[in-house]
Symmetry: D2
Subunit: 341 residues, 4 copies
Amino acid sequence: MRKKVAILGATGLVGQRFVQLLANHPIFELTAVAASDASAGSRYESVGHWHLDSPIPKSVANMVVQRCEPTLDCEYVFSALPSDVAGPIESAFAEAGYVVFSNASSHRMDKDVPLLIPEVNLEHLKLTRFQKTRGKIITNPNCSTIGLTMALKPIADEFGITQVSVVSMQAVSGAGYPGVSAIDILDNVIPHIKNEEEKLSTEPRKILGTLVEDHIKPASFNITAQCNRVAVKDGHMLSVFVNTQKRISLDSIAEAFDNFNPLEDMALPSCPERPVVLLRAPDAPQPRLHRNLGNGMTVSVGRLVQTSETSIRFVALVHNTIRGAAGCAVLNAEVYTAQLS
Amino acid sequence: MRKKVAILGATGLVGQRFVQLLANHPIFELTAVAASDASAGSRYESVGHWHLDSPIPKSVANMVVQRCEPTLDCEYVFSALPSDVAGPIESAFAEAGYVVFSNASSHRMDKDVPLLIPEVNLEHLKLTRFQKTRGKIITNPNCSTIGLTMALKPIADEFGITQVSVVSMQAVSGAGYPGVSAIDILDNVIPHIKNEEEKLSTEPRKILGTLVEDHIKPASFNITAQCNRVAVKDGHMLSVFVNTQKRISLDSIAEAFDNFNPLEDMALPSCPERPVVLLRAPDAPQPRLHRNLGNGMTVSVGRLVQTSETSIRFVALVHNTIRGAAGCAVLNAEVYTAQLS
Amino acid sequence: MRKKVAILGATGLVGQRFVQLLANHPIFELTAVAASDASAGSRYESVGHWHLDSPIPKSVANMVVQRCEPTLDCEYVFSALPSDVAGPIESAFAEAGYVVFSNASSHRMDKDVPLLIPEVNLEHLKLTRFQKTRGKIITNPNCSTIGLTMALKPIADEFGITQVSVVSMQAVSGAGYPGVSAIDILDNVIPHIKNEEEKLSTEPRKILGTLVEDHIKPASFNITAQCNRVAVKDGHMLSVFVNTQKRISLDSIAEAFDNFNPLEDMALPSCPERPVVLLRAPDAPQPRLHRNLGNGMTVSVGRLVQTSETSIRFVALVHNTIRGAAGCAVLNAEVYTAQLS
Amino acid sequence: MRKKVAILGATGLVGQRFVQLLANHPIFELTAVAASDASAGSRYESVGHWHLDSPIPKSVANMVVQRCEPTLDCEYVFSALPSDVAGPIESAFAEAGYVVFSNASSHRMDKDVPLLIPEVNLEHLKLTRFQKTRGKIITNPNCSTIGLTMALKPIADEFGITQVSVVSMQAVSGAGYPGVSAIDILDNVIPHIKNEEEKLSTEPRKILGTLVEDHIKPASFNITAQCNRVAVKDGHMLSVFVNTQKRISLDSIAEAFDNFNPLEDMALPSCPERPVVLLRAPDAPQPRLHRNLGNGMTVSVGRLVQTSETSIRFVALVHNTIRGAAGCAVLNAEVYTAQLS
């Protein structure tokens, strides 16, 4: 018996990834797609503009798009709603008893809401006990945050982190559709993404923080982030400088990356063979070549260089609409389901 | 009376910029173009592949390409030779009495060779006194180095620098022609450029160093650099994190940038109105919009953020084949000429 | 005494080109910029997003944007209004006595409105005699049409045309701002541009038609057009197949192109040295290399191949926002002014 | 028992596609990879630069690259050799008894060599009877030719073709690696591809020709082709104008495309569900969205417009390194094998 699930905001870029990931899922059955009132009532394939290079799954193409109201026939909802409308809609679904797995930023920093990357902070799921609704809200982080935090986690665990500086080179799909104008990005780099630097400097500290009774005590290190948009379709690159508490060596850092696989034994459908993989080629990772590793769920790390006894730098790559969005939410739902049993 | 000048390596990307900048120069007369033996003997417009969007200057199109031998009819030579052959050829020209203004890396770190950006380290020209050849060699730095160092100079002067971390997003023209394959860069970022991180972490320290008798004592701060290639035609972006000795404020840093104009009174033909300009728009600088400021000779700075009492970050943009290469060499020659009189 | 002119729709992509071309014009004085009500009342540089790589002209940056109402202090207005609003606004200006030079499609096919490319159909200006308003409306064609028609004109005159098939590869700036989404065009070609094929198959026939009393009898040949959007910033490429009435030879066609320069003696400020230039390099024209020929006012032709005794094919390139839009309108105003005297 | 096969030129772009397609093939067993002498003797993964976004198959990564000499342990060889060396090497293999499936152009127009697209001209396989070697040579056409010819075939069969004009917009992977320089293609279109127009105007006529005794009588219609390179990674677009012998209607042409599936009953592993699919969306096909249809083996057609009683135009898209190269050769081998039994 597969659990019934629905998608809120199913017509956008992240919504389409949810459709792709859930159309033939072993433990979830996609029973409804919902979107804005403008789309409600139409067949899914007749609204919007499909952006993926595999066709719309046949089982979804003819579904009638529903309104984002908590009367959907399902247990879980996956939210790809825009942040400016997601907050109250997701709350209404949680009130009505649905478990909401949200990619929106609205509830991410709420005190009782887990900001979850299963391989990083599974224990934070316990925060949901303090939610007073019949249902629950579980969020996944911002796309860049997910890449950064997964790459930092093995280092934080083994060596402690005291400071992070990060420069991102982010794909246009991160801005949704239509998002970035072609005029702005062809032959260009835009050194600013609205609200992104704020998310990238706060969210990782919550995720890498400690559960203390009913809340998360954020990790104590500082993050400074400078975010850029580049002419790439999918895949956010992060150039990361890290200062550590303990002395490090290249070998010990590499070992930390190689050994990092905390969910290895859980057999979750969307869990990649390796959550983080350290690539040794001198010019890896690259968005076009490595964004799809682990079906887009693996974060690739490379260009690892030690810069002092307690500092390194490296490059990390995350597929922003899979691991960095829809894929993370689906994995969150899988791990949540596994915890129930 | 204009001084006679020639270009070595005149058919490559940087060589073409030299042609463009020197074809109608007020104080230099381009009398010869030289290139590899394969091109020698042919008319300039019949060899290679012109890459600029203004046509080949008519005065140059019909010049017969000469060999890179020190028998050219001129006083100065501008060298756009590839680094693997530049060293001995440039030395031969200096031996023969020519003044060589070189964009090649071969002699940059030589003890008695100035690594010159006129607005930054004009005093280093005195190093040429210690060269024992009849002629001289004066080099300009690597393209990224020029952008970084010009942006660091006002900060170094006012506040002192203790540490620099930099991430570059570099244009494909920096790799010459054919250089980067389209297959490698479309929908992609390449997080590695051969030898670039080494140059970017050593050259600025020489340029910002102190002339002590017959040599340069490098600046004492450390630079760590991670270099990326992006799908941009011209214009290198640098995301820079700087720690300072003295306390800073956003206003004091902005003032330092705004006041920086050391050659203002020299009236050199290639000197831009402003060597460094601080842009206040929230998404500036951008390669396509700002690389041509000051005819490509101005470094644009933006996204200035204070990150602690003694640290800031910002983005800098340099036109890599103008200010970052041919234009800097031409300005070096102009300032050298002015010093003579 | 320069004539006073204003720009309607001054904040869009074509509006910005008008600003660039008119800010320092020898015979026109830009006295007003007008735009939508949302922008009216603000300083020009504070609204919208400047897209050109030269800065906003200082004389315009501080102008207060006005409403598009026929109370502007000028004789001529240049219209870069969107087609869905241009029609009645332009009519109102004409009623009020202004001479309107419009880039919008609204009035292009009106019986008494010239669809003017000065080098092609100057005589069509006489149509304005039949306009019953105090002012006049003179339109320029669609951007692709201008490139195609200028390339066809020398052939039509010398050899007659019986059939044209054309495939366009059009730049993203042709769609305005924000226009094409980066997601749609990176690593992609879009084989459809709304309404473009219709314009490209009808407008050239009016332009190449014959003035008969009070109207234009369209040229009798058929045009079939397939339009594509490609990842180019500026510059529309057209691959053109033409059947002719008379027998042709490569030499006679080349001669027709080379001899075509009907306005040579008029000394109009925006008129390029050559309206159409036949390039002989085997891989010319190319948007990045040749779109700025003649300050963006020259159409480049290349890849000329004879395919039968009465058919040829070639490639033509037009800068879509200069010659293909604002530049053509300015030239129309210049030639109109010259005719007055 | 799978047949043993080897790849010649296994390190290039098309060679890598062969590796990807053959590493886990149901009826072929990849036993050897061969390449130039420079690579021979090294492990496959240590030579060259892997360009596909799926990793090198593990079974191939450690294979030792062999020389292209006819001593390989296999029955079939797939040749991705460059055309300037392919001819004699392939002949040597055929002499030695191997069956050569070649993507190189060297033998394509040989009188006794099939230029094979299984869905189009399976009967031409009979030409191999006239080859006097112990082995055989069977070629697949040029990448653009395959897309064009597959789209023309249903029309030719039902309505007859009298004239074809075609404009291509071709991906950079068609030029191999490093192939096109990034400098040449960013923000650009190159209206010339060496030898491509010749292939595109001659090969389809052989493929659509008639087997007469020991040779092919080419189809009698004329093809004129203008080829362009665009900034696309994979996927050649073709804008095609066709004149027909019989009267057509949109419906009858659509029906011809929809009914075209000659190999439907053969159950070949690489044969797509549909060789040609007519897409009805107004902006289809697009390289990024549709190149992978049918695992890259389906040609997508769209933008179908009737232009007269006996003429149409449409756009066709072919994945140039799969259906347009390696995939076609593999299908050729599959159909050849099926014919044997």
